[in-house]
């Protein structure tokens, strides 16, 4: 009985993620006939890369993809460079306003980007950041940073203080102890955090649409282009957008498990 419940639970969870993915993939490779048909066959009768190839040939898709990757990589780098030290400080040091700081970090997420859109646009134009991947990545960093800070703080908290103290006693400076003892223990978590930052940036549409004109990221570009395209091309766009996220999470899945303390203890 318990086993059946367990298995059906797994089934429901899998269906929850896999069915939409499957439908999008089906729409992307099944051709126009299949997109319009109902009920849909489980296996597409005529599998074709036609739509996907067409999609790849849409003007500007490749440069938009490049902008997206650029913005996402920068966002990832900024989130880790700023978020990890902040997380370490939160985990290891007691300072005035530490608790308030923790709350404030989350509050940045409560502020709607829509309200900021106009002043940000004006500010970015003045600074020369408007319509650049760097500008977009800065906004995405602001969105991803709260997670980076709080997740890395909890990663550091999970490393007992005594590990570091033992390293200090056995000949390490603070920096060396961090490199030899703390960093290896939190690295899987940091990797997962950076992937998360990448995915946040990759998926973000609104800020990217507002802050760019010619150098749009893939999401912003598709939003403006695909609304007039046939349905199967929209599916193809969605499919291409999903792939990196799924792939990345799949690649770091082992480390994601480690993050929950299964592999590393």
């Amino acid at each position: 009985m318990r086993k059946t419940l367990f298995l059906s639970g797994i089934g429901v969870l899998c269906a929850w993620t896999l069915v939409p993915l499957y439908l999008i993939a089906l729409g992307a490779v099944g051709g126009s006939a299949l997109v319009d048909s109902w009920p849909k066959p489980f296996w597409p009768t005529s599998l074709s890369m036609r739509t996907l190839i067409d999609f790849m040939h849409i003007d500007g898709v490749w440069s938009a993809t490049l902008s997206s990757v650029e913005a996402a990589v920068l966002c990832m780098a900024f989130s880790i460079l700023l978020g990890v030290p902040a997380g370490y400080a939160l985990a290891r040091f007691r300072f005035h306003g530490g608790t308030a700081f923790r709350l404030m970090i989350l509050l940045t997420r409560a502020f709607p980007v829509a309200i900021l859109a106009l002043p940000l646009t004006v500010g970015f134009i003045r600074l020369g950041l408007y319509d650049t991947a760097l500008g977009v990545s800065l906004i995405h960093t602001a969105l991803a940073l709260p997670f980076a800070v709080l997740v890395s703080a909890s990663l550091f908290q999970a490393v007992p203080r005594e590990f570091e103290e033992a390293a200090w006693v056995f000949g390490c400076s603070r920096l060396r102890a961090f490199r030899h003892v703390v960093l290896p223990l939190v690295l899987p978590g940091i990797a997962a955090t950076s992937i998360f930052a990448f995915v946040i940036s990759w998926n973000e549409v609104f800020a990217a649409s507002v802050l760019t004109v010619r150098h749009k990221t893939l999401t912003a570009y598709l939003l403006s282009v695909l609304s007039e395209s046939p349905l199967q091309v929209q599916f193809a766009g969605g499919f291409v957008l999903i792939i990196p996220s799924v792939l990345f999470i799949f690649l770091v899945r082992k480390h994601l498990f480690a993050m929950w303390g299964i592999a590393n203890r």
Binding site: P160, E162, F163, E165, A166, A167, W168, V169, F170, G171, C172, S173, R176, H180, V181, P184, L185, N264, R265
Partner: protein, 350 residues
């Protein structure tokens, strides 16, 4: 190898005093136990010696050099932590080699030292494993091996046995003593377990409320505690304390009478349970409440003159609860204490 001098070390955490001007000297090669109840400042003192905590004032000298402001890595010491702090991402071998590698020792020396320490602690079979695959006792051995591998001038241990179960603790205690005697390292050992301190240490420092109350050999502290607190804390069962009236220069206890040291109207007799004999004739009347046969002896708990007492009696003595025994303390083992201050009186401390 090095001597340690703690010179007037004081530590405040905010407004609360953790250590109240502690001064002590540990000669080269000595095993000193810092003993006290939790919150007495013993761990703080150890961490100040290690450099993990900074004293508010005072100096720490190791091997004659002032280490007060140096970081832990420059103090030439090793430490065993209460939760072992064995690095989980390294093999046992790498853990034991850690200190030497960080000090930049060459490969041959690292290998030689790791093998020596591993042999000493009997952990050779696990050298290739990760700490996650070891039991608590095995991790404990790894932590000690890691500390001994660097040939430290000073070895600091913070309640290293408290996370082990009772049987393993007893086993590790004996082994630790043998290993450390062989190494001859100056050792400071923090514990709240008085049997551990008594069994291991050359000398013990008993701490209470941030002060060293008494520092001496375990036998001397056991026999002649400096205060009522020490007598009650060291030894199991704890020392008995009987508050008695003094009349005309004599202390009367039941049918017995002792010459009073000092002229206070009340005085406390401190006496160990095993220093009390069952008298044939009139002594101090003791009403038995609980009889606990312990195998090697029988522990009697009861009241004498309305005050609780514990008596260690011969194993074949089995009085019934409610029975009245006549007791007589061995006069040369009595520690007379001031009834108000709880301090032992000079005359009884040789």
């Amino acid at each position: 190898m090095a001597e340690i001098t703690i010179d007037g070390v004081r530590k405040l955490f905010g407004d609360s005093v953790a250590l109240e001007s502690v001064t002590l000297h540990i000669p080269d090669g000595e095993f000193l136990a810092l003993l006290g109840p939790s919150g007495c400042g013993k761990t703080t003192l150890l961490r100040i010696i290690a450099g993990l905590e900074t004293q508010t004032s005072g100096r720490v000298l190791i091997g004659g050099k002032d280490m007060s402001d140096l970081p832990p890595r420059k103090r030439g010491l090793a430490m065993v932590f209460q939760n072992y702090a064995v690095f989980p991402h390294m093999t046992v071998w790498d853990n034991v080699a850690f200190g030497l590698r960080m000090a930049g020792a060459d490969k041959a020396r690292v290998t030689a030292q790791v093998e020596k320490a591993a042999a000493l602690l009997h952990i050779e079979p696990y050298l290739k494993r990760h700490p996650g695959q070891l039991s608590g006792g095995q991790r404990q051995r790894v932590a000690v091996a890691r500390a001994l591998a660097v040939d430290p001038a000073v070895l600091l241990m913070d309640e290293p046995l408290s996370n082990l179960d009772a049987l393993l603790r007893l086993e590790m205690r004996a082994e630790l003593k043998a290993v450390l005697q062989q190494a001859g390292t100056t050792t400071v050992y923090v514990t709240h377990d008085q049997t551990e301190a008594m069994g291991l240490a050359d000398r013990m420092a008993v701490l209470y409320a941030g002060r060293i109350v008494q520092m001496d050999s375990p036998a001397e502290i056991y026999r002649a505690p400096a205060t009522r607190f020490v007598g009650g804390f060291v030894g199991s069962p704890p020392m008995n304390f009987l508050e008695l009236p003094v009349t005309a220069g004599h202390v009367t206890a039941g049918a017995l009478s002792f010459p009073a040291p000092g002229d206070a109207s009340r005085i406390v007799m401190g006496i160990r349970g095993e220093d009390i004999e069952i008298a044939d004739d009139a002594g101090m009347p003791f009403e038995v409440r609980v009889v606990e046969p312990m195998g090697s002896h029988t522990l009697l708990t009861g009241t004498m003159l309305g005050q609780q007492m514990r008596v260690v009696a011969a194993s074949d003595l089995r009085p019934r609860p409610g029975e009245i025994l006549q007791l007589s303390p061995r006069a040369d083992r009595i520690v007379w204490m001031n009834a108000t201050t709880g301090l032992a009186m000079e005359t009884t401390l040789k």
